[in-house]
Subunit: 188 residues, 2 copies
């Protein structure tokens, strides 16, 4: 008895985020998530391998988008500009889901293991972007440094975007943080 | 029956690193480490909480050294220069133990869990240095960006130092990588 459930994945994600915020990640069970979403545990496991995948299931798509944006930047773009363009491009990915991104961030900030997982995700994104730069003919250490600097910019921009009561775009924050990094590394 | 063992900690560390390289971290037991060092398991546990602490026990001292170097940099130093000075200063910490640092790196590179632990350590160092910059009156986001950029520079410099057949100093590699980061962020 399986039937098509409209937007089951989205409903499960929303239910999970609400419960993680309310009770904490460790205290929430898959059964509770399914109940809150009005679905079954079986449906949950058709969409997610486990509770954690609700929070990290988007990472492969994010990485793929970043890598293809780096690869597709104009041939004349400097490495840091290719990275910045890629980060701004995925800004929309977060922009349209601002409220759930914010909930997700609250959940992660409250749990040491999830914070570690998030760090590892960001390090993987940096490695993938460095590799994409190498594919453009950028040599090391420039490729690694541009990618790591890009992730530092992204982290700072992301935090400011999350806290921004003026609701400015993430892409704006990324451009601004990159300018700040340029000033900082120039010793200003 | 406890007696003083000359340089027990150093002997245990060296025995552990050798075994981790030879057999892998997961395949090595504390009993084997103690035997190789000619000591007892009890002596091992007087010096280290577990096998992993042999690899990460130096982190608090490293962090303390970085933080006090950032705090003690000349008042006129720009944030990135205070960070760079701190990183160069701890270079000696690695320099005099080049061979065991290199063994340690081989062990960590071969084990996913240890790589994650190392990432987390580096992120903690970045947070601690950012906090030390704030203590110097540096505001955000400059404090966070300078510290994160510093850690990116350190990682790249460290890798190049590990692989450097000319055995140039880590401090040289740090200065060089910082120059490269400046060039990269300037869009060159």
């Amino acid at each position: 008895m399986s039937r098509w459930e409209p937007n089951a994945r989205g409903r499960l994600e929303q239910a999970a985020l609400e419960l993680y915020v309310e009770r904490g990640f460790d205290q929430t069970t898959v059964a509770e998530i399914a109940t809150r979403a009005g679905l079954t545990e079986r449906t949950f496991f058709r969409h997610f391998a486990d509770k954690r995948e609700v929070l990290f299931g988007g990472a492969p798509l994010l990485q793929e988008s970043l890598v293809s944006a780096v690869a597709g930047a104009p041939g004349s773009a400097a490495p840091i500009d290719a990275i910045a363009e890629a980060l701004e491009a995925v800004g929309f990915f977060f922009e349209e889901r601002r409220d759930s991104v914010r909930q997700r961030q609250t959940v992660i900030a409250a749990n040491a293991e999830l914070r570690e997982r998030e760090l590892i995700k960001l390090a993987s994104l940096a490695s993938a972007m460095a590799e994409a730069l190498r594919g453009r003919g950028v040599t090391d250490p420039a490729a690694g440094l541009a990618a790591e600097a890009g992730i530092a910019v992204f982290r700072i921009a992301f935090e400011r975007w999350i806290d921004d009561t003026d609701r400015r775009d993430l892409a704006d924050h990324i451009r601004e943080s990159l300018e700040e990094l340029k000033a900082v590394t120039a010793g200003r």
